[in-house]
């Protein structure tokens, strides 16, 4: 079993991953795809006159402040444009994909945090009406049902809160929780970077291998999104996933080459 998370940053191409996952499935492999759409969400939010607002919580993690209007924009970009583009790409190749959010069948479930405490100009400030949350539980029923009947699940945020509301959650973490629940052999996180770099300005400074027990040691090197990816890798490995691989999406055969060890292999 393979779980592939493909990032949604601007410039990330889906075609190489779709082709490669198709080859794998035709050869008898089982896979689940999880995707992001943050670049498209930002673009759409700008075009609709509701520019994205990123906030850093007092605990130091950056997230998108998601009021009700932002949540709807988020759903349009993720569940509408992003998800259906992937499903369509697979369907044109004859793979019977099924696109779902974490809200559908409550695949991803967790607590909504409707307030977030941030530092704003040095002062603590509480933002209310936030529709963000954290995936705490994966309900595998629907995913397993689809896999057992030959469908390819293509998943994305939002998740469901315990009260059934849609909540914006981190896609890498959700995918890691899923990989753990499925006890996947491999969990790939494909994005627009080659993997974890020792020096973010030098694309040749790739760290090729991180032993599972050493993830914490490498955390100081991780900046921005990469910090969440390493945390997601730790979740997946602790949950019983064989290997986690951080690799680039915009290359030929991104899946096959990651499985051969391209990128940063953790575990």
């Amino acid at each position: 079993m393979l779980v592939v998370k493909i990032g949604g940053g601007s410039g990330i191409q889906i075609a190489p991953t779709v082709t490669d996952v198709t080859t794998l499935i035709r050869a008898g492999g089982k896979a689940v795809l999880v995707h992001g759409a943050s670049g498209e969400t930002n673009l759409l939010a700008e075009r609709l006159g509701k520019p994205p607002r990123f906030v850093t919580s007092v605990s130091g993690l950056e997230s998108r402040y998601t009021d009700r209007e932002t949540l709807e924009i988020f759903e349009m970009a993720y569940c509408g444009k992003g998800n259906k583009a992937l499903v369509e790409a697979f369907q044109t190749l004859g793979i019977n994909a099924v696109g779902l959010s974490g809200l559908d069948g409550r695949i991803f479930e967790g607590k909504r945090k409707d307030t977030i405490t941030i530092f704003d100009g040095g002062k603590r400030k509480v933002l209310r009406g936030d529709y963000t949350g954290k995936v705490e539980r994966v309900n595998l029923g629907l995913v397993t049902l689809l896999l057992d009947h030959g469908y390819l699940p293509v998943l994305c945020p939002p998740a469901a809160s315990y009260e059934g509301e849609a909540v914006n959650v981190d896609g890498d973490t959700a995918a890691a929780m899923l990989a753990a629940a499925l006890k996947a052999d491999d969990f790939l996180m494909l994005s627009n970077v080659p993997g974890l770099l020792r020096d973010i300005a030098d694309r040749d400074s790739l760290i090729a291998r991180i032993p599972a027990e050493a993830i914490e040691d490498f955390m100081p090197l991780a900046q921005g999104r990469m910090k969440r990816k390493l945390m997601a890798a730790a979740i997946a490995l602790q949950g019983g996933v064989g290997r986690v691989i951080l690799a680039p999406a915009n290359v030929a055969q991104p899946v096959a080459s990651a499985l051969e060890g391209r990128g940063t292999v953790i575990g």
Copy 2:
């Protein structure tokens, strides 16, 4: 088995239908929901500076000209905002809804018409690059799988072309084809009109009953969207559906009261 189509025209409320379908399911009933989002699509298209373009084919049917950009807007409104709002509303009531488009699992399949012939200022004109189509086949596999495992399917366009592309299709026709495939006892089309009116300006001129064999006789009374609804009713009845009911969505208990005979009962 009940199939409910709820229209997506501006002003149509989803809450009464969601509450009513929830009551029905809790009482042991089986249902599938199909929805539109045309009002939201128009609004989004306007806001994105890509105003909707409706064209009338030489055969006299009106449709939305759907180039690639319009298709993406359509998917954002239907699969993103509209579909997830319904799924969320059901999840908050404890109903395990699963939102899908016709592209997912190829539930709705048909031929893409990439050119459409219209009259433009009295002249015949061929528009190319159109992503519209017509549902010709319903693949029940995924819908049945979900129903058998206690999920509520919440479906919407687009459909899949035979080549796997996303195509904009008429939601009423798709829902009618689905109702026929499921051999539904009842097929409800809920929208912002009380049913078929003898005089469109007089909401008290409701036609309460149309025998199945007399649909054609009533076609001249149908204007705009209503024409497609009567055609959809005919498809459903010919396919073995027990009754088709055209009824209002913005009333208390729209589903229960339609099943008791409110609106226009056909069949």
